[in-house]
Symmetry: C2
Subunit: 326 residues, 2 copies
């Protein structure tokens, strides 16, 4: 199994995540060879598996746990994430994902549609076999609703040059943080945590997810020179405006409007100019402050948890988030 | 509630189906106004609700039942069907469905994608609340897998002028009959039926579903003059070849090939010619024989069931299927 090198320093977690991948591998029983290949390629492309990892860490904070059950629920979470990725790539008309050509760029949007649908089913299949209570399944579907509403909102607010910080935060709260929140909530539930502890776990997941997405959006503006401009160009073309841009626009909307109004016709040089303007108006710094705020909140919350190995690792991981370079 | 007039002669069923629609209505909690409208418009467009009806009939053959539970499971089945319809319309680039513009023609394929995803989740949400056992949920997801595999196969065999009767039957068995089979199987399960009775119920569902799909495909070749040629033209353009055409081609492949090879560029006059050729080579008659065979099998199987009101209605409905004109 091809596990992301970030887990090398945590051998137990690495073993758990390898087993999560094995479960997913075995659950992909679709006979269509091409669909099977698509799913397994994505699975083994070395994603960070952060959602199942946060689920496992939360679930192991209790006194006892059923490892087999946890591995399966963790697998269902990652499969759900994969399903949304494949469908998102259709919407974004993305060419690559995790360094590989996307399903939709290789086989067309229609194939990607069904492959994503198939994965939704695999998620519920795994979950229905291993969740102790139907309430776990129920919560899961409500999260998916929230994720989809976030995606719909993002789609409807494309090319919205009046987008506010508040609107952006609400969108990523649904689009990304909801799945992190669910992962931690389900972990707490399966660890036998009480009501208050479950709410707390959910908040940790939410804050980690918020920080994660903001940092992901920042990376588009800061990554190495050889790809610089490309992700920004793509987002401008699609009309997706993220936090660094929103903050920079607050300082000087008029400077950005002539560029953004080109919409789908925006050129590489325009994207470079957007990049320069975001830099000039400290968009990245302001966005980083917000990410730090969420990370600090999560760290403070994790710090209050009872001591355990899981707690230590969660703390280290969360602090590590802010140092993300890729 | 706008219930299809075919149910007017069965007031109890009509009441049940109205309640099924109410449950769906109340489960669509998505806040996005447009997505909500899309789902509710489709819901109230007056579909026949055959899948939930067959589920309810099977479920009521037992001695006792929990009506509230049955209504909810029936609702989850119809929602699942709606989700696959919306996604199918993306694949087929369909303009209308049940007389209304499709989601994808009105709001674009991307919106349709998420609305379908949302409905998948609503299905599992309703089901996870009301299924007595998780095994019901499990079976459900496996059926969805089968439906999707059927759709993938159909997609991959587009423009396949060598398609055989056997391949066609296998495709519709997955694409359509699997959901009818599941509906009857779940009904039998919830009625407390034994293993053999459940297998029997599943077979009835399969046979009814097969007959239903074949008759649906035949309608494209036989409906009123004012729409004649249009559905056939659409299918030829998309490379979807159904049973009447497959049978006619068995008689004289060479006559069809020059027309079908035009693929997406096929014209109205070409479709008329295809129609005339299918008529000449008795494609519709041969296809009707197969539909009758499936209907007769289902009728024989239903006849052996213990007497009940549900049995009588199922028998009448199944025989009525063969008289379908719309």
């Amino acid at each position: 199994m091809n596990i992301h090198p970030m887990w090398d320093q945590y051998p137990d977690m690495k073993k758990d995540l390898a087993d999560v991948l094995t479960v997913i591998d075995e659950s992909v029983t679709i006979r269509d060879a091409q669909a099977r290949k698509i799913v397994l390629d994505l699975l083994h492309a070395g994603g960070k598996l952060l959602r199942p990892a946060f689920f496992l860490l939360t679930a192991k904070m209790g006194e006892t746990y059923d490892r087999d059950q946890l591995i399966h629920v963790a697998a269902s979470i990652e499969v759900l994430h994969m399903a949304t990725l494949i469908h998102d790539d259709i919407i974004d008309e993305a060419e690559t994902r995790r360094g590989l050509p996307t399903v939709q760029s290789q086989f067309g949007a229609k194939y990607a549609l069904y492959t994503g649908d198939y994965l939704f089913c695999v998620c519920f299949k795994i979950l229905s076999k291993y969740a102790t209570a139907l309430s776990t399944v129920e919560f899961n579907t409500e999260t998916v609703e929230r994720v989809l509403i976030g995606e719909l909102e993002q789609m409807n607010s494309r090319y919205n040059t009046d987008m506010t910080v508040k609107q952006y935060l609400r969108q990523i709260s649904r689009k990304t943080a909801a799945l992190f929140a669910m992962s931690c909530h389900m972990g707490a539930e399966l660890s036998g945590a009480g009501k208050q502890a479950k709410i707390n776990a959910r908040k940790i997941g939410h804050e980690v997810g918020m920080a994660f997405q903001i940092l992901d959006d920042i990376l588009d503006f800061t990554q190495e020179a050889n790809t610089l401009g490309k992700p920004v160009l793509e987002d401008m073309k699609q009309g997706v405006y993220s936090l660094p841009l929103i903050y920079a626009m607050e300082r000087n909307r008029a400077a950005f409007l002539p560029l953004l109004e080109k919409k789908g016709d925006i050129q590489y040089e325009d994207a470079d100019e957007v990049l320069a303007l975001v830099k000039k108006y400290n968009g990245v710094e302001k966005a980083k402050e917000v990410a730090t705020k969420y990370t600090n909140k999560a760290v403070a919350r994790i710090n209050k948890l009872p001591e355990s190995e899981s707690k230590k690792m969660m703390l280290a991981l969360t602090e590590q988030l802010l140092q993300r370079q890729s």
